[in-house]
Symmetry: C2
């Protein structure tokens, strides 16, 4: 319990001095340096003394000497993280920690002028959840980071996580007998990429089912914007809407109800993400649940394989997507 020093931190040199051995030996013990033979007795003494003095390696010094920061930066998208995802990030963090790496999450803001974290932390790896935003790859590489996941040079990295939600949405509505289905995106520029991707996937499903290109609108999350879209779609004979996410779906449902339409009889609406809140309101929103079980460990394994000699993780991410059928979708009429 003796709080030896309140000013100077304990260094490896302190351990060496106190034990009367050289700094190198201490380093070898503490790092389990391969190719070095240290007697069991000395090893024990070093470990015990480190414990006794409360030694903590100075990561800045370590980073400087080794050239590796042992930091893994996870770039998060700008939208709210769902519950599962958060749990899985935690798992990734744990797995990496066991390997001596720290996981730091970061949400770049396009509006912010501040220097991105990859410039400051000089992480060994930068991970992204989905694909890279334009310009990001260049910025990260300019900061000296060579390991990016997913690999931006790999052909068609886009389908890394395959975004099958929109497929399920459209098929679900089609099974109910809907033939004129609209896709509702978000006008939020920050998520334009993902909106576009989901729209594309929805159109893939539409084509498979013999429907034409889906009518589309990018909504603001306001009643006015949603009302306008609903009115327009109804006039065009649309009976069902696949929404980019639950927020957009909620806007449409609310607007439809306030316009006097019945959901789902007049208009079926299906969301995406399975937000808790969306399951509570009346009508309870049909949606797509994204099961992220295992994603965390998978991410960690990916990062480690990039930075050490570990093999690539065998299984793909368990990013299974499932339909959650509730009350906001049904047959037309």
């Amino acid at each position: 319990m003796s709080q030896t020093t309140s000013t100077r931190r304990v260094t490896a040199a302190d351990i060496a001095r106190s034990l009367g051995i050289s700094r190198a030996t201490v380093g070898f013990v503490l790092n389990d340096t391969p190719g070095q033979t240290i007697s069991a007795a000395t090893r024990r003494r070093v470990l015990d003394e480190a414990e006794r003095l409360g030694y903590r390696p100075h990561i800045a010094a370590r980073a400087l000497a080794s050239g590796r920061s042992r930091i893994v930066l996870l770039v998060l998208p700008d939208w709210p993280l769902d519950f599962n995802l958060r749990r899985n990030i935690e798992e990734a963090s744990l797995a990496l920690d066991e390997a001596g790496y720290a996981l730091i999450t970061y949400t770049p803001h396009p509006t912010g002028q501040s220097r991105p974290l990859w410039e400051i932390l000089q992480p060994d790896v930068v991970l992204a959840m989905a694909s890279w935003a334009p310009g990001q790859v260049e910025s990260i590489r300019a900061a000296g980071v060579t390991r990016l996941i997913p690999d931006p040079d790999a052909p068609m990295g886009e389908e890394e996580y395959s975004e099958d939600g929109p497929l399920l949405q459209v098929r679900h509505l089609h099974e109910f007998g809907h033939r004129t289905i609209a896709f509702a995106g978000s006008a939020d520029p920050r998520i334009a990429d993902l909106v576009a991707l989901r729209r594309r996937r929805a159109n893939v499903a539409a084509a498979e089912l013999g429907l034409g290109a889906l009518p589309t609108a990018d909504l603001e999350l306001t009643d006015a914007s949603a009302s306008a879209a609903v009115r327009r779609w109804r006039e065009a004979g649309v009976t069902a809407v696949a929404a980019y996410n639950d927020d957009v779906a909620a806007a449409i449902v609310g607007a439809a109800v306030r316009l006097g339409f019945s959901v789902p009889a007049d208009l079926s609406v299906i969301g995406h993400d399975d937000t808790p809140l969306a399951s509570m309101f009346e009508p309870r929103l049909s949606t797509i649940n994204v099961n992220t079980v295992g994603l965390g460990r998978y991410l960690a394994a990916l990062a480690l394989s990039a930075v050490e000699e570990r093999p690539l993780p065998t299984a793909g991410p368990e990013l299974r997507v499932a339909l959650v059928e509730r009350a906001s979708t049904g047959p037309p009429g």
Copy 2:
């Protein structure tokens, strides 16, 4: 990709060599070191050459040399961040960046065994949004961080951010004529503290208005849990509910509607946080908007005052709270 040599980073020494001057001069220019006089011509040449070579300071080396990491760690609570808050964190990040500091946000997970980020990053300051969790202060100090905000040694830090939302909720319901008002908390253990605080504040308002202690329930976010609470409250003559947040409020509204009650005629419900989604569904949720304008800059100023010789920021956080009256509250009957 075999550019082992070409990958070497540009250092201050490279600039010096290329310009035929000493490394110290380069450092003085790049850091605007006070007390050093550098001719305008040299300054320009250094700056230009740094730009030309694409020089980026190696923060690990800087941290090692200066003894300061120039990292500010913001400890975030475990609950989802609302939109405004996120924007303000971004603002704080910007303000700190201008002063040469990096803001890193971190959510410690009680379950996680991984080493907390303050041990790894050795930040100059650790900020918390609310109060410190038990054990956190010791852990942070053990990691060698001396500057904590809010100061854990200051008496009664609890009312740092004064939580006036519940007051507005109860007063609003009271004005409509409600006299038997319930408080709906959340059973989520991670937010037990904040739930308790808001309940306490709601009861303060109730007492002021001459109401007795509010009936209370801590809900799971499930229909069963919400239905049970609504049924119980209705039997007890409750006509209005102040909810911990919009999620809980949504659960109650949904359950009430499905039980055949009319909102707000049979049961008024008011949420807290002004979640976008809550304003979309029908009935549109009355709620409390937390205006965090200025919070970000305030946090940044706090951090800077702790770490440099700047004076403490003058104004308190502009954590103004406002009633958002929509369709889920009204007179009883």
